[in-house]
Symmetry: C2
């Protein structure tokens, strides 16, 4: 489970307690407000998993090994740019991902405004808790409890634990290919969209003024495609080749082709 920029130490504690209640162990925290994070971690009775939580500077760093990234939030105030699933329908998706050896991350945003549009662009799916239209916005600790209850009570008939983000700082990006299953870790998708972006620039396809918007759309696109690892390697190879060609002095041909 990943908390993005949490501020309230009580909420961090409550989120960790809900994880302990429902048998989840791996917590990563992205760019927490430092004094409150220290306070939450050192609180008397803080669950062990809070003290063991990984810290990451950015969301993609925390997600690097994850193959299914589930963002959380309400859509009352915005339009989704990816698949939206109501929480009661999430379990089958999670089961399928675990069955193919994937690693799942549930991502929760900060208390005030939830996940940003940029945060959400790293998510494959956006899960919505079906709340009342008059009071759609949930307290962070309660939202975490409800999501983990749903997953633990419905998605793990046969499984002992949800393997979630070990998060961050596992060395070079190539290490993100390690999970041998057919799912594609987030880090590999980032590598791919970075390469495509570079190619677009090299080809003069992406004017400087549009680069931020293009990067955002590309991130969503590579997650929508449902690539498997072999696909991903193939597409990466293709774009590496294209990029290499684009950067060669024009007019020369490679006779080996």
């Amino acid at each position: 489970m990943i908390l993005v920029r949490p501020r309230n130490p009580l909420n961090m504690g409550a989120a960790a307690r809900a994880m302990a209640n429902f048998g989840f162990q791996h917590l990563a925290v992205v760019a927490p407000y430092a004094p409150h994070w220290r306070e939450a971690r050192s609180a008397v009775g803080a669950p062990e998993l809070l003290r063991d939580a990984k810290e990451a500077a950015s969301l993609p760093e925390a997600l690097v090994d994850c193959t299914l990234v589930v963002g959380t939030g309400t859509l009352t105030y915005r339009k989704a740019e990816q698949q939206v699933v109501q929480l009661p329908a999430l379990a089958p998706l999670v089961e399928r991902e675990l069955a193919r050896g994937g690693r799942i991350a549930m991502v929760f945003g900060p208390e005030n405004h939830g996940l940003s549009r940029d945060d959400l662009s790293y998510c494959h799916v956006l899960v919505e808790i079906p709340t009342d239209v008059h009071q759609p916005s949930m307290n962070l600790g309660q939202a975490v409890a409800v999501c983990l209850y749903e997953l633990s009570s419905r998605a793990f008939s046969a499984l002992d634990e949800l393997p979630v983000a070990q998060a961050a700082a596992e060395g070079s990006k190539s290490s993100t290919f390690r999970p041998p299953g057919p799912a594609v870790p987030s880090g590999a998708l980032e590598l791919l969209s970075g390469l495509i972006e570079e190619t677009m620039s090299a080809a003069g396809y992406s004017p400087r003024s549009m680069q931020a918007a293009n990067r955002h759309d590309l991130r969503l696109l590579v997650r929508r495609l449902g690539l498997n690892p072999a696909d991903t390697r193939r597409v990466l190879g293709l774009f590496r080749r294209i990029l290499w060609r684009l950067k060669r002095p024009s007019g020369r041909r490679d006779e080996s082709e």
Copy 2:
């Protein structure tokens, strides 16, 4: 929804917020710790339903109109004396009760030890949130959120709102028969067990030293029987008659029989 002897104003606020999130409106609070209850009610941004909450001095008073009373808690530290349902299996029970015109109360205990054995004796069913054995005890606000999420997302395909305890102080006990449906309100069951208890004493069946224990067992028994209102009236009539006979001077017979 009913909170029994809650202490922490933050938890009262969190419980009320979860109710608003999932579209529940009727809150009753039993014997709250007064200063904290005032604080929770007057908090900035407190949901309307918290300000409108009913106050009751005792749990049976708060339950008087309810036909299905669902206690919450963990069974890690005690043995249940009534039917136990895991939360994911509660929805069908609730649906059936609503379909026959019943009124349901979800009852949550105080933060430290949960519902007492005495509180639980007023419950038809005990619902357990399936939590991890190493950390079974949930925060009150999170437990409320999880239960109401489960009910709102699964029990109300066809229903707009859960009719819960309007609670307390609706005049004489006979008014508890008002719901015309086939379910039996808690107040009528209390009347019945009171009458049976009186009969047991009058018959010399219940020694003084055993009266508290007998009262407790009786309360559980009348809830287990699944009486309908006609049954209840019949049994009440029977015990009234027996009691009347027991209290008449012995040796005389009523010729009209």
